[in-house]
């Protein structure tokens, strides 16, 4: 019911969701932009770390996510 494969699918979907957030259209609107002025003094608050985490995921994981998505799509197509 709550197996390892399900966990992999869920993390893949969540990472996809984080990766497709647009910087200027969405994050800047709600004040979670990367280069906002409020971050310069305070790199250790929860919000700053969360913003760092999101931007890191978006920068680093885009290309591996493409590969992982292709693998999962092929797997789902072939094996149903």
């Amino acid at each position: 019911m709550f197996g390892f494969g399900t966990l992999l699918y869920v993390t893949l979907l969540l990472l996809n969701a984080v990766a497709i957030l647009n910087e200027e259209r969405f994050l800047a609107r709600i004040g979670w932009a990367r280069n906002s002025a409020e971050l310069y003094g305070d790199t250790e608050s929860v919000k700053a770390k969360l913003i760092n985490l999101i931007s890191a995921v978006r920068t680093l994981m885009r290309i591996p996510l493409i590969a992982a998505n292709v693998v999962v799509i092929v797997y789902a197509l072939v094996l149903g």
Binding site: F2, G3, K49, L53
Partner: protein, 338 residues
Amino acid sequence: MSHFQGQMGGQSQNPPMRGAFSPISAEQQQQFAYNNNYGAQQQQQQQGQFQRQMSPQHAYPQQQPHQQFVAQPVPLANQSNPYGMFAQNLQNNQAAQLGMQFAGNAMNAMQENVQQNVERYVSMRQLKHYFDVSNIYVLSKLRMLVFPWMQKSWHRYAERDQTGQVVGYKSPREDTNSPDLYIPVMALVSYIIAIGLIIGRLGVFHPEDLGYTASSALGVIVFEVLLIKMFCYLLNVGSELQFLDIVAMSGYKFVTTIFVVVFRPWAPWWVSWSAFFYFGFALAFFMIRSLKDALIPESSSVTGVNVHRKRRIHFLFVIAVIQLLYIWILIQYKSTTT
């Protein structure tokens, strides 16, 4: 070589152990005759150390006709080597010995290579620290998990080197409060087997149910470790809480889950629910007390780091209460009669 002198002096050898390679008795007697004769010659030839691949030994077997090589003398016979008959064939063949040496070197090289590669991901020395347990430790840890209020002190003792510097925590053998990985591994396997037993008792067992249970249990562990790791990153929890510590803490829930899951099929509903809540809260209490020192330092000892004290207390509370959810997930086994 005292054993070798004994062979010469007594002329009475113990027969080799009858293993898979022991010959039939006629050949064995022939071999003993050869052995006694060969012993005399060998004593004169080998003054020094006794080695398996020694060149003076080669001169003798080459005189023997090829079909008698089974009955050749066995210097290792009186060491009760059951594979003595097998090994001597390799001794006398030079190419085989070269092959054996090469294979030995290749094995060593491969082993070192694997060791280095594994060392990069998982530190073996750290793993050994977590498996360094004793019986008393296991019993008292289990008692701590089931009756956590009986434990008086939850403080972890720090390991100090010669100069008094703190280099880590004491191993589980010396410190009952230190987390280990032996109990979680054993509890995980016992949990999988217990679920298998219960499903079998209900008559609906399939072998792949064991795989499903294992996958589910591993999924819970991975999810919890990832969650705690993410919270640690967000709240600036640094090296106080190691990765393997988190895995160990996450694995302790299987001990209580076993206790809960054995009640479910055969007890009335109120017994199983009260067991669930009792063991759930016991586990929550255990987690809170164990992680308190690591996550919530006293205010005097932390400098320069934004501690988020209130957030950490909330985080600890969330970790503890979510254990109940994990136990609930883990006791859902597939059966027709729930």
